[in-house]
């Protein structure tokens, strides 16, 4: 704010409403110190405008890029996966194994489900690594 209570920053930044702007412009004609103050603000803004705009070094990966497509195991709902494992276990049990106690069957299913979940974690890790390699390749191609 100037000594004459005029916000020259707002004026120079185009943030002053029309009536205030008109009053400020009229005041500037008769006040040298305010003219100097405005000139300083405008000079600073003009210097700031000299900052070079940088190009994006490599393009932002698009959501349609293959790298962002879910893998087949990611598309697989974990509940559905667990249910499938259970169904498979029942079928295998019915056709290939002698009858076993319910508790043993449940334990088996539990183990298979846990194994499947562990594999999904590994698949996810592989997927992340693949993404990193993909991004590095894009970067290298750009260079």
């Amino acid at each position: 704010m100037s000594a004459h209570n005029i916000d020259w920053n707002a004026y120079a930044l185009g943030e002053m409403e029309a009536s205030g702007r008109r009053d400020a412009a009229a005041h500037m004609v008769i006040c040298e110190s305010c003219r100097e103050e405005l000139a300083e603000v405008e000079a600073t803004l003009a210097t700031l405008a000299m900052l070079r705009e940088e190009e994006v070094p490599r393009r932002i990966a698009f959501v349609s890029d293959k790298v962002f497509e879910p893998r087949w195991w990611q598309k697989w709902n974990p509940t559905f996966a667990a249910a499938s494992v259970l169904a498979a276990a029942i079928v295998v049990h019915a056709f290939a194994q002698p009858p076993v106690a319910d508790a043993a069957l449940q334990a088996r299913v539990q183990v298979m489900t846990e194994e499947m979940q562990d594999r999904m974690v590994i698949f996810d890790q592989m997927d992340r690594q693949l993404k990193q390699v993909y991004m590095q390749q894009i970067s290298l191609r750009r260079q």
Partner: protein
């Protein structure tokens, strides 16, 4: 600017209906502005690029929640602001130890490249809040009210940060100022 807003609104509507290509186009239109804002804020190219990537993914995921498509720019920069400050908070000790750079000494006319470097150095000497206020106002052209929404603070705070920054820049850049 008005045409840009209209086109953005159209692209946003298409993207919301599942048109991925429309969103990709939106990314192309905004990536340079977002990247430059982040670059000046986090002061590291790789970090700025990584955060830009996160910003556009987050924006895509949250596009259905954007209540007023005409405010896309402010909304996008708000995501960028949050992501940038999240990173800065994580890297705080490192950034505090970053060596301070000095404004090129000497008076008289400077080449555009030198002037750009002087401005960059002067901006780096501001604190993060002040620098961000300058970035949003001077380089991105947001209104005070829009900045207040992006930064989630009152307009008076926005003005205070910006005016303090301009005073500091005025003093630092005076020898190089274009008159």
């Amino acid at each position: 600017m008005i045409f840009r807003e209209v086109e953005d609104r159209d692209l946003i509507a298409k993207a919301r209906r599942g048109d991925v290509e429309a969103y990709n186009l939106l990314v192309s239109r905004w990536e340079k502005r977002v990247f430059n804002y982040l670059l000046r804020l986090v002061r590291n190219r790789e970090d700025a690029l990584d955060v830009s990537q996160d910003v556009f993914l987050k924006a895509y995921q949250n596009l259905p929640k954007l209540a007023e498509p005409e405010k896309f720019a402010g909304w996008l920069f708000r995501i960028a602001h949050n992501e940038a400050f999240s990173l800065l908070r994580k890297k705080r000790p490192e950034s505090e130890l970053a060596p301070e750079t000095h404004v090129a000494a000497g008076k008289g006319s400077l080449l555009p490249m030198e002037l750009s470097l002087a401005v960059e150095t002067a901006l780096n000497r501001l604190n993060e809040d002040q620098r961000e206020a300058v970035l949003l106002k001077v380089y991105q052209g947001f209104k005070f009210e829009e900045m207040a929404e992006i930064l989630e603070c009152p307009v008076s705070t926005v003005k205070s940060r910006l005016y303090t920054a301009l005073d500091l820049l005025k003093a630092t850049l005076a020898p190089q100022a274009i008159r």
